[in-house]
Amino acid sequence: MMLDIQNLYVSYQGIKALRGVSLQVDRGEMVAIIGSNGAGKSTLLNAISRLVPAGEGRIVFNGVDLRRSIAHKVARLGVLQVPEGRQILGEMTVLENLQVGQLALGGRPAKYSLSDVYALFPVLEERHAQLGGTLSGGQQQMLAIGRAMMGAPEVLLLDEPSLGLSPLMTDQVFAALGRLNADGLTVMLVEQNAHRALELTSRAYVLDRGLVVREGKSRDLADDPSIIASYLGV
């Protein structure tokens, strides 16, 4: 097991955002976390990345207890988050953003070269000298993923990559994620766009008000009437 989360609690000034979440991700898997607004999806990723302090519970990555680490060191272990809203360094060029991404290597060997990133997202090569802040939303999402690739991810944590993207752009981003996973990359995909997320992943967890309320094969969940009613719209 690559990532093992047991009975995790997180609260913000007394408000419980996670109330005993357990989940596991195996090497090479692509797992979806779905749930509505405020379910605690970003909180879960941020607890793993050590951006928010965890209460009770365990977060273990390849045998290392992440709760004893700090944010930049978690990244250097290869646990790389592509955050909600992409968080591009807007005053730096596309290339510089990718170069900053290399810091997460921290001595580990690279997994993807700059040309691998450019091959996956050709638009980044065209725009390499453009400031990150002037890219479109979809291009920024590609840059955020490419930037994480430069840091040799062991597991990629994505927080709503489809947010604000056109269906066409979402297709492109999801296709790229599918290709990365097919090449062996472990992916944890947080999405409100449950339909697309269940299509792309093999396993999924449903988060509701800080609890895992369902888990199983993505295909099964996509066919489940109660999931359809709650998360898949019409």
Partner: protein
Amino acid sequence: MLAQQILNGVVSGSIYALFALGFTLLFGVQKLLNLAHGAVFMAGAFIAYYCVIIGLPFWVGLVFAMIASGVISIIVELVAFRQIRKQVDPEFPAIVSSLGVDLILINIAQNLSNTRVLSMPFGTFPIEFYNIFGLRISLLQIVILVLVAALVGALVYYLQKTSFGRQVRAVAQNERAAALLGVSAASVYRQTFFIAGALAGVAGVLIGLSFNSIHFLMGEPYLLYAFVVVVIGGIGSVPGAVVAAILLGVTQALTKAYLSSTLSDAIIFSLLFVALLFFPNGLFGRAVLSAGGDRK
């Protein structure tokens, strides 16, 4: 005469630039005012003075002052900012804590010097003058211009072209995102404080030598000038700080020569108010440690 005054103004302005660059760099990265920056400047002058007094060559004193001021600046970060930065609203506490460190350093210097004004021994730096296009320029002035140009050039190179520089800019722009990318903000703060302190220390030595006067309160007016430079040049902008510092130096030289030497500061700050009416964000806008120029 006018050209001569402008030349003198450019020389003193270039020293202001060294001092203000560190100040604006620190503010750009941590978004907190470092009110102890003037004391680090003063410490640089003191350290060089004592090096020369114990018989070391001036150049050795200058290099030693530069490194030691950088180290003092790292200590300032540790004492005045490291813990306070974690608070939700660190701005006001940081003003108080950095002011506290400022006073401690000033007090140490006051005791060391017995509240006297110190001056470098005669002959510390050769007094030689040259005539270039009818302008009189001293060897010290030439050295100052060359040294400042080299240091500013090195700073720009460091910020723009090195991995360390990219980390500094990443933290300045988005500390959270930088952490997710493996950037250690603590190490970025340590480095920027060292660099800012080292530049301030050199500025202190050069001012102490130029005016042949080194005293425990010498840093405080320069802190005010740094505010002017940062406001006019745009917060966090390197080219803005250099241009604004030189403008300040020239304005000061001209007001002293042609208007009134005692009212010089009053005139400069009045001009600042007028400038702010027309350029509320400074001449270079709000460039948050953006690239060498303003590319936005």
